[in-house]
């Protein structure tokens, strides 16, 4: 893609005029399993390191391959690897030149649970080592689990970038669900002042509140319930997930 307007800087380096400095900081793992079929694992990872201007370092390549459980396959041709191994190989190639920023484009799309867990462990470790990770995913729970900052892209436009905790605080809600002793037909008049919603069937009463508010009003509600003749056998609270926030944001735009 040819740049049209605007500028992008990577660690202060313009990606056009200082492309060498900018690109050498970045490792890219594409979504598609695009690898050379006939080359060996070792050679293809070493090739990536050279391409990014780094002198050969067999010890580093060995470490990367061992971290990604590819060491035993180092002499195998890429075409003989399974899909999961090819995914790990792409990560090994991206890490071969010791990047400070790693782009992971939907790395867990279509991978099994075990590999997914292994990848998140790797991401956590890289993050702990100070590598900035830009992860694109359709699985919001992954972003919720891993991210410090979250960006939301809708129809090709970045509609929000925010610290995950503050995003959840700002846009998140909490809900208290009361499982009633006896189903109700409607919310009693005495409780009209509370933000209550009767779940179809009348067995559950849901109270939505804003935890940022000075008063969540839970104590008052719990005191008002017996007075209104409502008794409950159990209760649970739930916080809005990042996925709920994502859906709300996307619908809003």
């Amino acid at each position: 893609m040819n740049p049209s307007e605007g500028t992008i800087r990577v660690d202060g380096h313009d990606i056009v005029s200082e492309y060498r400095a900018a690109r050498s900081l970045i490792g890219l793992v594409p979504q598609e399993l695009t690898t050379d079929a006939f080359e060996s694992v070792w050679n293809t990872v070493s090739f990536s390191r050279g391409l990014f201007g780094r002198s050969p370092d067999p010890a580093h390549i060995e470490r990367v391959l061992k971290d990604l459980s590819l060491w035993d396959k180092r002499n195998n041709k890429v075409m003989t690897l399974s899909g999961g191994m090819k995914r790990r190989l792409l990560i090994a190639k991206a890490l071969s030149h010791e990047p400070r920023i790693l782009f992971l484009d939907e790395p867990t799309a279509g991978v099994d649970v075990e590999l997914r867990q292994a990848m998140w462990n790797l991401v956590r470790r890289l993050k702990a080592e100070g590598v900035t990770i830009v992860l694109t995913t359709h699985y919001i729970d992954e972003a919720e689990e891993m991210a410090d900052r979250v960006g939301v892209i809708n129809k090709g436009e970045l509609i929000l970038v925010e610290d995950k905790a503050s995003l959840v605080r700002k846009l998140g809600k909490k809900q208290l669900t009361l499982h009633l002793d006896h189903p109700l037909e409607r919310v009693p008049e005495a409780l009209a002042g509370y933000n209550l919603e009767l779940v179809p069937g009348g067995a559950d009463l849901v109270y939505t509140y804003d935890e940022r508010g000075d008063r969540a009003g839970i104590t008052a509600l719990l005191q008002a319930l017996p007075q209104a003749g409502v008794r409950f056998k159990d209760l649970q609270t739930r916080q809005t997930s990042l996925e709920d926030i994502f859906v709300t944001l996307v619908r809003r735009t």
């Binding site: 893609m1 900018a22 050498s24 890219l28 598609e32 090739f47 391409l51 990014f52 201007g53």
Partner: protein
């Protein structure tokens, strides 16, 4: 990182040369066998009827043309495949996201393709020397023509590899244009053997200049002046360089 990304050039060049080693049969042995067959068919069958061309045995006379034929087709094939394959399998993303300049990309891909062609040319020359008596009157100029032709047509192949969006297109120009031009460019005959009209038509064929110059370096025989041959070769080189520069300036078929 500043200056030339030498590690990247070495990586791409090494990667391409490794592909040659993996495909030794296709890259080197197959063209050598084809050339040996040409010697048998043209040298033995036809050569028996054309004993000498301007004092040179017909078998020896066709050696420069045969080398040039292999050089042209293999330079184009190697370079076009080298850059087309990453596009085809998608690994081009890595090249385009790496801190590599366009110059470094061209130097490494074209350098590797040209190296293979030069090796192939020398192997065919050695094979020919075993079959027919050969002399090289101007060895330095022979090497100059060998290098210039390999580089020029590797650049041409690089352009085809960028332009092609399918294997059919990859073969289209070499099969429909380059091979006929080579056969009609005096590889197996001197254009002086043609009727006057076809001699003039042949002068529009760029391969005539390459074969003529290369043959001169062997036997001192030329269909056109050596300076003209050298000049035309340099013109082709400049033209391919200009197209490659345009491709990288615009991102044609790379970023679009």
């Amino acid at each position: 990182m500043s200056g030339l990304n030498v590690h990247a050039i070495r990586a791409i060049y090494g990667f391409e040369m490794a592909r040659t080693r993996r495909t030794l049969m296709q890259s080197i042995i197959s063209p050598v066998i084809s050339t040996a067959l040409y010697f048998v068919v043209f040298g033995a069958a036809i050569g028996g009827r054309i004993p000498q061309v301007e004092g040179v045995s017909y078998g020896a006379f066709i050696v420069p043309g045969l080398i040039m034929l292999s050089l042209l087709t293999q330079s184009i094939s190697n370079a076009s495949f080298g850059i087309y394959f990453p596009k085809f399998v998608g690994t081009i993303y890595e090249l385009l996201s790496a801190p590599v300049s366009y110059l470094e990309i061209v130097v490494s891909y074209v350098g590797a393709a040209a190296t293979k062609s030069v090796i192939l040319g020398l192997v065919i020359l050695a094979t020919a020397a075993l079959i027919v008596p050969l002399r090289i009157e101007h060895p330095v100029w022979m090497v100059v023509f060998l290098l210039l032709t390999s580089i020029t047509f590797s650049l041409f192949g690089f352009i085809i590899g960028i332009w092609a969006d399918g294997f059919e297109k990859l073969q289209l120009i070499p099969l429909l244009i380059v091979t006929p031009l080579t056969f009609l460019g005096g590889s197996f005959y001197s254009i002086a053997m043609l009727p006057p009209f076809w001699q003039k038509v042949s002068l529009f064929n760029p391969v005539v200049y390459l074969v003529s110059g290369f043959r001169w370096s062997f036997f001192g025989l030329a269909d056109v002046g050596v300076a003209v041959s050298l000049g035309m070769t340099c013109v082709f080189l400049a033209a391919t360089l200009a197209v490659v520069a345009w491709i990288f300036r615009t991102g044609y078929r790379l970023r679009t």
